[in-house]
Amino acid sequence: MSTMTKPKRAPKPRPEAEKDASMLKQKEMMAGHYDRLTSAPENGDKVCATFVPGNLNELIMCFDFVNNLPEQNAIQAGLRKTSGRFVMEAEKMGHSEDVCTYVKSDLGMMARGNLAPNGKPFPDPDVLLLSYTGCFTFMKWFELLREQYGCEAIMLHTPYTGDGVITDNMREYMVKQLKEEVIPKLEAVSGVKFDIDRLREYLRESARAEDDLVAVLQSAKKKPSPIDAYFGGIYYIGPIFGAFRGTKEATEFYRLLRGEIDERVAAGLGPITPDGPMGEEKYRLVTEGPPNYTSFRDFWKMFYEEGAVCVASSYTKVGGTYDFGFRHDPDRPLESLAEYCLNVYTNRSLPQRVDMLANYIEEYEADGLLINSIKSCNSFSAGQLLIMKEVEKRTGKPGAFVETDLVDPRYFSASNVKNRLESYLQMIEQKRSSTQTLGAAA
């Protein structure tokens, strides 16, 4: 018996996202990084895996390790739409549906060949640098990886700044861990002796890039904003949050990026989106929480199609908060690494987070706060409804709440997100007209 099947329609090819020179440069840097990583075994390089918050890239480079960041790999899997099946693979292996999808994407990817974005297998790490900063899950994630790889794991515990301050006790504890635990173990695994002057040189380079990054992110105070500091911001933070902080490449990248943004400011231009230059800037939003990566472009499109630009975001501070003045300091190398870890956004107390977001709304003259609440990430998400209420109370600006996930496509409902965003923008519109009416009446 034969059956008739309807011929499948080929999916409509999506136009290539528009990219400026810095984006092309970054693409080239990332490709180079993945090539270096996947050829580590043949080149005799050793691999250190670590996390984006608390990423001690300068220290890692002192031992000639290639840095592999599992969160970035999960993001890549999300953007390439492979994370969904990795997550389900991990759930089949016994990992709970309730827990972080970065972890499950990573474990599922390992079970399915552990291929890097360049199609070559990731090498096994030689060491796991468990930089335990701002996220409880990190600890379990690397215990899970240690079980799989059987390699050395080094714990670097960053105390939580629950009272909103970095105490001497916290800093000294971290410096001692670096001296007594982290550096000796990295020396032992790598066979490379620690050279503090080499670290100082990397830190000096980091500070240069950090200056330019801050200038780029703060350019969003202009009207129109020349950048989108959330969706676009994710491209901007890529190198500095990843394996490039402390390198000359990163310094050059941020110099190039800053030049581009300066030109856009001078020309009074708005952000570049994947569909080209954004139209008129109608709404200025501050965002809290990570984005969704499985529908990243669709998610962003919902904003720029409505003329909404994100002028500041907390997510772009998750791998380091530089806009309040912190810079890696070659004169205080270990102390500054400790302070960097202590300062990351998710290691900040809730009142600090409220202050930060409320200040962003004022300083960037935003219309309100939009929270993208991530199912996977309790570090960000627990308490966000109170954050929204507090920020609304303090600024008088409306907040909105959407819920998605990092890399699990099952938790991205495009119509729900779009409806909420559109309603929110209408609310802003209404608030504006009522303020104008009140102003006219007065």
Binding site: K140, H157, E181
Partner: protein, 389 residues
């Protein structure tokens, strides 16, 4: 002699009382008394006690509290304990509490510390951090300084200096409490038919709200009374329950597991009662002693880093051996990151050791026990039918 039933009746009253009347009465009995609330998993109650204060365990609202306000603060994918704790706070049930400690256990409780600061700005709230580095010179020094900071804060609240001798005296009382707690656990493991786990749970839970002196007496009385119990021995299998170290299961869940044919011979409920596994020395610097025992002789649990891969999950195997368990039940609250992320690793360790296990989730307000009874019953049957013994 107080009978087992009388003790349990008293504990049940304390357990059911979501207004914490006994702690309120303790506070009202003397001018200037203060109460410090704490959440799971561990705080050094000795220091609170040494300040002349009552440490009060706050473990959510259980299955009897209707959460109305608390749900407005949390998304659906966050566990239940923070929302019912917020409910307790917002409804004034904790209005007599002079401070709250939020221990290092997970991101949700960590963030709740900041929420508390925002919502109850006039009440002292502290995130209580503990080291994940267990070297005396590194994590130990950090922890001693943290303990001394806590001591200074509590001094301010109580309005009196906390002396070393006062801490030593409190350590003695808590050493006794830990010993009595271990005695009750050992008794249950020996003769589980005489100490139903729901009883044991209630007796331990009373320790969350009573002054330690009173709880010590209760434990002594319970041990005497339980020895006289004439409950019949049943043909139950012996299981270890793990995963319930933060959000507490409904009492009915514990009863259902036993009704399904499982004697629970060890568990990780209310770990604060026995987090420290050895007596804290009363000679020398008492704060350093508390830190030393925490670093070297405290419970293994998901909230603590295990530095050695070879040791991962071995504490469960040791507990299985010590208490003669035949299998392990993983009972974790829904959305509990520590328990659920740890679970696969613990299961691998058990599998390698040939120890059977089963897993399910609960919430503190779970009402439907039939599926749990069926799972526990099937597990019990499978152990009895198929185990090598």
């Amino acid at each position: 002699m107080t009978s087992q039933e009388q003790i349990i009746d008293r504990c049940q009253v304390l357990f059911d009382d979501l207004s914490f009347t006994s702690a309120r009465e303790w506070k009202a009995a003397e001018e200037g008394r203060k109460v410090i609330g704490y959440m799971p998993i561990y705080v050094p109650r000795e220091i609170i006690h040494a300040a002349g204060m009552l440490p009060l365990g706050v473990l959510g609202g259980g299955d009897q509290l209707e959460v109305i306000h608390g749900d407005a603060y949390y998304q659906s994918y966050i566990c239940r304990i923070p929302r019912s704790t917020v409910e307790l706070g917002v409804t004034g049930r904790l209005d007599f509490v002079d401070g709250m400690l939020f221990p290092s256990i997970c991101d949700v409780i960590r963030n709740l510390s900041g929420m508390w600061k925002l919502m109850f700005a006039d009440t002292y709230a502290r995130y209580f951090d503990v080291p994940q580095n267990f070297d005396d010179k590194v994590g130990g020094e950090f922890y001693v300084n943290e303990l001394n900071d806590l001591r200074a804060d509590l001094s301010k609240i109580s309005g009196r200096k906390i002396t070393d001798d006062q801490i030593r005296a409190s350590i003695e009382l808590y050493n006794e409490n830990r010993k009595l707690t271990q005695d009750v656990y050992a008794f249950r493991a020996r003769e589980p038919w005489k100490v139903p786990s729901s009883d044991l749970y209630l007796v331990m839970r009373a320790g969350m709200v009573l002054p330690v002196e009173e709880h010590n007496q209760m434990l002594r009385d319970y041990l005497v009374a339980a020895a006289d119990s004439d409950r019949p021995l049943r043909d139950n299998c012996r299981v270890l329950l793990t995963g319930g170290f933060c959000e507490q299961p409904p009492l009915n869940l514990i009863k259902s597991i036993e009704l399904a044919g499982c004697y629970i011979v060890d568990d990780d409920f209310l770990l604060v009662n026995r987090f420290l596994l050895k007596d804290v020395p009363t000679e020398g610097d008492p704060v350093e002693n508390l830190a030393h025992v925490f670093l070297h002789d405290s419970e293994s649990t998901a909230a603590k880093y295990e530095p050695f891969q070879a040791e991962k999950g071995k504490y469960l195997i040791r507990a299985v051996e010590k208490y003669g368990a035949e299998g392990v039940i993983f009972a974790a609250p829904s959305f509990c990151d520590p328990a659920l992320l740890d679970r696969p690793m613990l299961q691998h360790t058990l599998k390698d050791a040939g120890i059977p296990y089963v897993a399910f989730k609960y919430a503190e307000n779970s009402g439907q026990m039939q599926p749990i009874r069926e799972q526990a019953g099937t597990f019990s049957d499978s152990i009895k039918l198929w185990s090598e013994a």
